[in-house]
Symmetry: C2
């Protein structure tokens, strides 16, 4: 089995000028789930017969899979500057470890490095791969901008929110699947199924994230419970509550949104409103819908051991506790 972490480690950042390349190595060495390249390689394995690894095909797909991981880490690097985040995966962020200018410039170079990896896919597939990758990258930047815009807006609808998380999170997973499938020789219908699988698990994943932030077990969930509530984040839970609350409950909710410095009471009160309105169940239903739509795509793909892993992944995401 291909070791994604090993492939990422084999990228060489021991180059001059060190001030440009060291932060890239640092950012990429910090681990993470490697979800995107894993999805890409699995998509390729689904397409090639029986899910067995065909060395040549995987060699063709690997540069694109790595490009997706490098791109993802580039977005984290620049997002951390914009959010002034100080810790990422248990270590100081690049702009804290070095400085902001380094995070900007090394981030730019990381984006260029992703395109360098893309240039390594088979010649006759570079153009279409580049187009899909550009489409994906544009979606991620647009999603980030909508996320920023929505923080200030007070008329964000559930549809707006779903569009935003689709762009910010899901298109990267969707194109990870499609690009890898395309390079591995998937038909257009298979490519679409792969794309939609990635899109829907991405949406399910993000919604589960919103739910866990309120209803997660503090022992297994990585972050403090209620963080989104304290920050007034327009999650699916809050937007669902706003849309389903009657006048009185809505007023109560709005009052709590304005509360400052009473975090514990605020979390308890807003959670109580969510419970009263059945927000958790409503959001879980939406999440399960997306999980089901992801699983449906598997009917349009070859049945093999790799496809089985996609099934398990979708089911695991929907029942995860952390």
């Amino acid at each position: 089995m291909l070791d994604i972490n090993k492939a990422i480690e084999s990228l060489n950042w021991d180059k001059e000028p060190k001030g440009l390349y060291e932060p890239i190595g640092y950012a990429l060495a910090s681990g993470g789930k490697r979800l995107r390249p894993t999805l890409a390689i699995t998509a390729a394995e689904v397409i090639i017969n029986g899910g067995l690894i065909n060395g040549t095909v995987i060699d063709d797909v690997l540069p694109a899979a790595l490009a997706l991981e490098v791109f993802h880490n580039f977005t984290l690097l620049h997002d951390d500057v914009m959010d002034k985040a100080r810790v990422r995966r248990g270590r100081p962020t690049v702009h804290v470890q070095w400085n902001e200018n380094t995070a900007i410039l090394s981030g730019d170079q990381m984006l260029i490095e992703a395109y360098k990896l893309l240039a390594q896919v088979p010649s006759n597939k570079v153009q279409r791969t580049l187009e899909m990758f550009n489409e994906m990258a544009t979606g991620v930047c647009e999603g980030q901008q909508y996320d920023v815009d929505f923080e200030q807006a007070n008329n964000v609808s559930i549809d707006d929110y779903m569009m935003m998380i689709e762009k910010k999170t899901s298109v990267l997973l969707a194109y990870a699947m499609q690009i890898a499938g395309y390079i591995a020789g998937a038909t257009p219908a298979q490519q679409e199924a792969l794309y939609r699988y990635g899109l829907h698990i991405g949406l399910a994943f993000q919604i589960q994230d919103d739910i866990l932030d309120v209803y997660g077990d503090p022992k297994t969930f990585g972050k403090a419970i209620g963080g989104d509530i304290c920050a007034n984040k327009k999650t699916l839970l809050l937007l669902t509550a706003m849309e389903s609350a009657d006048g009185e409950t809505k007023a109560e909710l709005l009052q709590w949104l304005m509360a400052v410095g009473q975090d514990e009471q605020k979390i308890a009160a807003v959670t109580a409103i969510y419970n009263r309105l059945g927000v958790r169940e409503k959001c879980e239903a939406v999440m399960e819908e997306h999980t089901a739509m992801a699983l449906e795509q598997l009917d349009r793909l070859p049945r093999n051991e790799a496809a089985e892993r996609l099934r398990e992944l979708a089911e695991r995401l929907a029942t995860r506790k952390s």
Copy 2:
């Protein structure tokens, strides 16, 4: 004749989310010399017979020419954030007009937009074009990092400096020529000549910039004279002075470098040292050498009206006053 400005204006930035695309339109509408796409189109015209515009070839080259201009403006956008520059081409910079986060994110999207344009070159030429573009973009980021590193270093040699300006400024001009020539059907030898023409005019241009900062006519030179001296910038003039000064003059120069808040006297004193050491003449000789090397490349290219324009451009750069 192809109107570069019109082609740039025809790029559409009236898209959602406005917070992402408006700053891109703003940055690209601010004018500038459009040197890079002009060089690219001229290189293509040199290659296609007689320098006459062959519509098809220019259509093939145009997306790459525009990608180079979009890329160049992306670097200005992020550089202005890093340098905290407040004005660019007579208008507030993007991070002043909007904010830093906007400049970072819209800059990222601009880099992606450059790659979107690249994906439009003829299919069979995308991979090689992408490779050259990535090489160029990497050079620019490395050059920027060296520039930052050299500000702190006190053992920068003339060779270091030439390497830095080659990466930071010249490779973009060099690859503008080569990429366009490649797409227009240049032979490998012609591509190399185009590359080297761009490289050497870039170096000549940057050296002339250093000279004009001290010896320019305040009436025609856009900036205040002596800005580099006040900022202790390690220009070719300063590095040449350091390398050619004897012990006593070197000590005098170092003393002036430490002077703070006596700008007028500092400019006069350092200029006097430059004059004593013949620094201007030495730098002009280096600049003329690069101009000559650029002109030499024309012998390896078709002789036509477009090549004549390259000759004039190189000669004009060497004698420019602003």
